[in-house]
């Protein structure tokens, strides 16, 4: 019955059956090829080893010189639950998530039916022959593949077949989309660099898939790759590795952490780098890494180290941020440096630990009880993860306050292509620290006195060899000398100076990135990973609706004056962000004169998947009534 249905397929050809060479050539002839502009989704089971296969696919497309991005949509699970990996090739350089899937590789029997049902008309489905997915869709191009049979033929060892099977789909897809086999082999050999045997076995699987597709699949879909040179000189890296590199080149010396998805790989990768590049010839380390008992201890260690003069950091995610609240207040009130990387995931509570969001902004901005405000840096791509990490260490010591680098799962855990990172030419800024000699010259020292008019006082480090160097740090009320006080004026003066210090921060934090032509009435504001979708959406709005928009990407809180100027120079501002409550818009409102806030509109995306351009475009078009 099912086969009967297949026979009536609108395509008229059962693509799974061997066909003659001539019909192969004819099958796709009617369609206009879609070159270097499509997405592939691989559905697998978590823990089945598909990561390597997907990585080889991604690197192969990159190796063909075509802009590409990959996103891992994985469950909070060790093994057994469904996972998806999407790869997008885009000749235009769009690397945001794309809503529609063009090619599905359905390797997970459990989700296969849903997976194929979710495809748009005309998409491609590659699947295990036995699953017979064709019964569910007659408007999708189906390429059944005998994966188990092909795998068994190249992999005699049964226990390895689950892993090796993934490379068979790499081979099939490679043939289907015209990947250069030499490029695929290079990517695979790189993946298994240190394991010759594994490389050979996996390569045999790729070839088996490739040859099967060449001999037995008649291509009917339009999706193909053609060589470009858009990735020449570019690198591929995930945001967490980039942040780790930034920390190392910022000269971090004390690193503390408590493992939490999706931030663990910041510190894990940092440990690898530090062991490699920060151990001296005598084997001694210029760094200390501590896996703490919880996030409270992690931030406590960071602040203790910062107080004693080290460049210290921790990396965490939402639940860790919540736990760090009390210490964040201490850091703010006692003026202690320390860098906290928040790789945001979906909250509240445990939320969706392996999905992405931009929903920690409000909690970080005011983290802790009492009047508290924190500096946030908001990297929008992997290069900025590197650069803003370095900047964060300079700012935290300059400002003597904790600095949060707020990234997200999408940026942190996915691979992105990027220009190579530039070596930081600016020397480390260790901030206002008095040595014993300077102390002697000055004659006096009051830890919390604003002597320079920028509201940033001078500090001394423990161990400074001068009888007047010591002071007492406390989270309780303190006067300019650091002595305990409950006097109304002392408290108020301190709080007002801290507010002034935040104004100083406003002048020191990274400025926004602005794209404007001076003619548009509509301005877009976004930050972090929403950037990719917004850039693409602006092109859609222009091409499809003739709508020009200006765009400002925020890179730090507090907002620099450019943000205010941008808002007041546009009639309508759309703030695009990945949370439910318009958190960035709320922060902007708090910063703006009441009359200006009416310009602000909100576009929000918060389903745990990275924001895509079409969602932005549709929401904006609806709001603008175009």
């Amino acid at each position: 019955m099912a086969t009967g249905h297949v026979a009536l397929d609108s395509s008229g050809v059962d693509a799974g059956q061997p066909v003659s060479g001539s019909s192969k050539d004819n099958s796709g002839a009617a369609q206009k090829p879609v070159i270097n502009d499509f997405s592939i989704q691989v559905a697998t089971v978590n823990g089945s080893g598909s990561q390597s296969a997907n990585s080889v696919l991604l690197r192969s497309i990159f190796g063909m010189g075509i802009p590409v991005s990959g996103k891992n949509l994985f469950p909070s699970n060790i093994a057994g639950l469904p996972t998806w990996y999407t790869i997008r090739a885009s000749k235009h350089g769009y690397i945001a998530r794309k809503q529609e899937i063009d090619i599905l590789v359905a390797m997970n029997a459990e989700t296969a039916k849903d997976d194929i049902l979710s495809l748009p008309k005309g998409a491609v489905a590659v699947y295990e022959e036995a699953a017979n997915l064709k019964q569910y869709r007659d408007d999708v191009i189906c390429y059944p593949v005998p994966f188990d049979k092909l795998t068994a033929a190249v992999c005699p060892e049964a226990r390895l077949r689950k892993l090796v099977k993934n490379m068979v789909y790499v081979g099939v897809v490679a043939k289907l989309i015209s990947l250069d086999l030499k490029v695929v082999e290079a990517a695979l050999r790189r993946q298994f660099a240190k394991k010759q045997k594994a490389a050979d076995l996996n390569w045999a699987a790729v070839e088996a898939g490739y040859n099967y597709a060449a001999e037995s699949i008649a291509k009917q879909d339009p999706f193909v790759l053609e060589r470009m040179h858009a990735t020449d000189g570019k690198i591929i890296i995930d945001g967490n590795a980039a942040a780790a590199l930034g920390a190392m080149f910022a000269g971090v010396t004390v690193v503390t952490w408590y493992p939490i998805t999706p931030s663990s790989s910041v510190v894990e990768q940092l440990i690898d780098y530090l062991r490699r590049y920060r151990v001296e010839p005598d084997g001694k380390a210029t760094f200390a890494v501590v896996q703490a008992e919880d996030e409270l201890a992690a931030i406590g260690m960071v602040l203790g180290a910062g107080w004693a003069g080290a460049r210290s950091m921790t990396a965490t995610s939402g639940p860790g941020i919540s736990l760090m609240a009390e210490f964040a207040g201490l850091g703010y009130f006692s003026e202690l440096p320390g860098v906290i990387f928040d790789i945001q995931r979906v909250g509240p509570s445990t939320g969706l630990p392996t999905r992405t969001a931009q929903a920690d902004l409000l909690s970080i901005a005011y983290l802790s009880h009492g009047d508290t405000k924190h500096v946030m840096l908001l990297p929008g791509n992997v290069k900025e993860c590197f650069e803003l990490a370095i900047e964060a260490f300079n700012l935290t010591e300059r400002l003597q306050t904790p600095v949060f680098v707020v990234s997200d799962l999408d940026l942190g855990m996915n691979n992105w292509m990027s220009e190579p990172f530039d070596y930081p030419e600016k020397p480390l800024d260790r901030g206002k620290v008095l040595t014993a000699e300077e102390l002697t010259k000055r004659g006096s020292f009051a830890r919390y006195k604003d002597v320079d008019g920028d509201a940033i006082p001078w500090r001394t480090l423990p161990g400074t060899d001068h009888p007047q160097a010591a002071y007492f740090t406390r989270g309780s009320g303190h006067n300019e000398k650091g002595l305990y006080t409950e006097k109304p004026d002392d408290y108020q003066n301190l709080m007002e100076r801290l507010a002034r210090k935040f104004e100083t921060a406003r002048t020191l934090v990274p400025k926004p990135v602005i794209v404007q032509n001076g003619k548009s009435k509509i301005g877009l504001i976004a930050f972090g990973t929403s950037d990719f979708a917004v850039l693409e959406s602006r092109d859609q709005l222009k091409k499809e609706y003739g709508l020009e928009t200006d765009y400002l990407r925020i890179r730090a809180y507090p907002f620099t004056s450019e943000v205010h100027d941008f808002i007041t120079s546009h009639e309508r501002i759309y703030v695009i962000e990945q949370n439910r409550d318009a958190q960035m818009l709320s922060l902007l409102k708090l910063d703006l004169p009441a009359a200006e806030t009416t310009r602000l509109r909100s576009i929000r995306h918060f389903n745990g998947l990275p924001i895509d351009a079409r969602s932005v475009t549709s929401a904006l078009v609806l709001e603008e009534e175009i």
Partner: protein, 346 residues
């Protein structure tokens, strides 16, 4: 005419008078055990001749945690948040392992809110002198029981404690601290000797010092009062200490005394007062503590000492200089390193 000059003030081996080890005036109650402990800390650092600028003082929150302001005002101090001094101390010591660090906590700050950090501090054997000023009550919030209050002990209000006490010394021994003892704020001689030995030790020193709260826990029915301690203190050992800079040729009976050579060359001499006392045996230490508790005694002295186990900073194999002040040349890898890393990512 003959002139008289004031006699030069007495100074220690580095030429400093004791006044250079004092702090600001205490704001704790008159008679508070904590003040006596501060005095002994002053004496210990003075007598050991430690440069005050080479010391970091850390604390959590509570009456006890205020006390670092009352000693060593030439040392940097950090009064942090409730129960979290261990983490702050850990960070500070990693940033500058050349410093001597002393942390002051209380029974609430340690045995309740700070239990997690306390446990992990002991486990790491971080070089830190950790003092619990233990009075069995929360003073600043006006006299609630803490988790070290003995079962059956009574509050001023008549409320009886019906939960068992946490023995921080037994815990510290089990968790990995390498110098564990208990003393009493009123026992000047013992406490001073233990503090001096603590300064000579490289690793976590955990001293639980019973320190009566004169305002909320010094009455009949309290097991942390001056009177109760005078009646129930039972020393497991007599603590003698010979600093590295003094002649050690003082006789002792090797049969009844353990002589421990400390990291700096000082000698800790523990004269056995109990059968079966062996300060290098963790199991014996815990057993002695539990038995004393059962017998209604407050056991004091050094229960356990291990000078061999590596400290946390030793395990991390840090460079000799403080991490805090390493120059950029040693903390920022070269341009070539970045190029090398970038090349691998293409």
């Amino acid at each position: 005419m003959a002139t008289t000059t004031a006699p030069a003030p007495k100074v220690n081996r580095i030429g400093l008078p004791v006044v250079d080890y004092r702090g600001s005036k205490t704001t704790l109650c008159a008679g508070c055990g904590h003040n006596a402990i501060s005095e002994r800390i002053i004496d210990a650092f003075y007598e050991m001749g430690v440069q005050p600028e080479r010391v970091m003082k850390l604390s959590g929150i509570g009456c006890s945690s205020k006390s670092p302001a009352y000693f060593l005002s030439r040392s940097h101090g950090f009064n942090s948040v409730h129960g979290r001094m261990p983490s702050v101390a850990t960070g500070a010591i990693l940033a500058n392992q050349t410093m001597q660090a002393i942390g002051v906590s209380g029974d609430g700050d340690t045995a309740s809110i700070g239990m997690g950090q306390f446990a992990h501090l002991m486990r790491r054997n971080l070089p830190l002198i950790y003092i619990i000023e233990d009075n069995g009550v929360y003073g600043l919030t006006k006299g609630q029981f803490s988790a070290t209050a003995d079962i059956g002990s009574k509050l001023k209000t008549g409320v009886i404690n019906d939960l068992p006490a946490i023995d921080t010394c037994a815990l510290a021994v089990q968790l990995g601290a390498t110098f564990v003892g208990r003393s009493f704020s009123g026992d000047k001689k013992q406490l001073l000797a233990m503090l001096k030995a603590a300064i000579a030790h490289k690793g976590t020193v955990m001293l639980d010092v019973i320190s009566p709260c004169v305002t909320f826990n010094d009455h009949e029915g309290s097991t942390k009062s001056y009177k109760y301690m005078q009646e129930h203190e039972e020393a497991i050992s007599e603590v003698g200490f010979v600093p590295f800079f003094e002649d050690i040729a003082i006789d002792y009976d090797a049969g009844s005394t353990y002589d421990v050579t400390m990291h700096d060359g000082s000698h800790l001499r523990l004269r056995k007062l109990h059968e079966d006392y062996n300060p290098s045996d963790r199991v014996a230490a815990v057993k002695a503590l539990m038995e004393a508790h059962h017998n209604g005694e407050v056991l004091t002295g050094v229960f356990y000492i291990d000078t061999e186990k590596p400290s946390f900073t030793g395990l991390l194999n840090l460079v000799d200089e403080p991490l805090a002040t390493l120059p950029q040349e040693r903390t920022r890898p070269s341009k070539q390193v970045l190029s090398e890393i970038m090349a691998k990512l293409t």
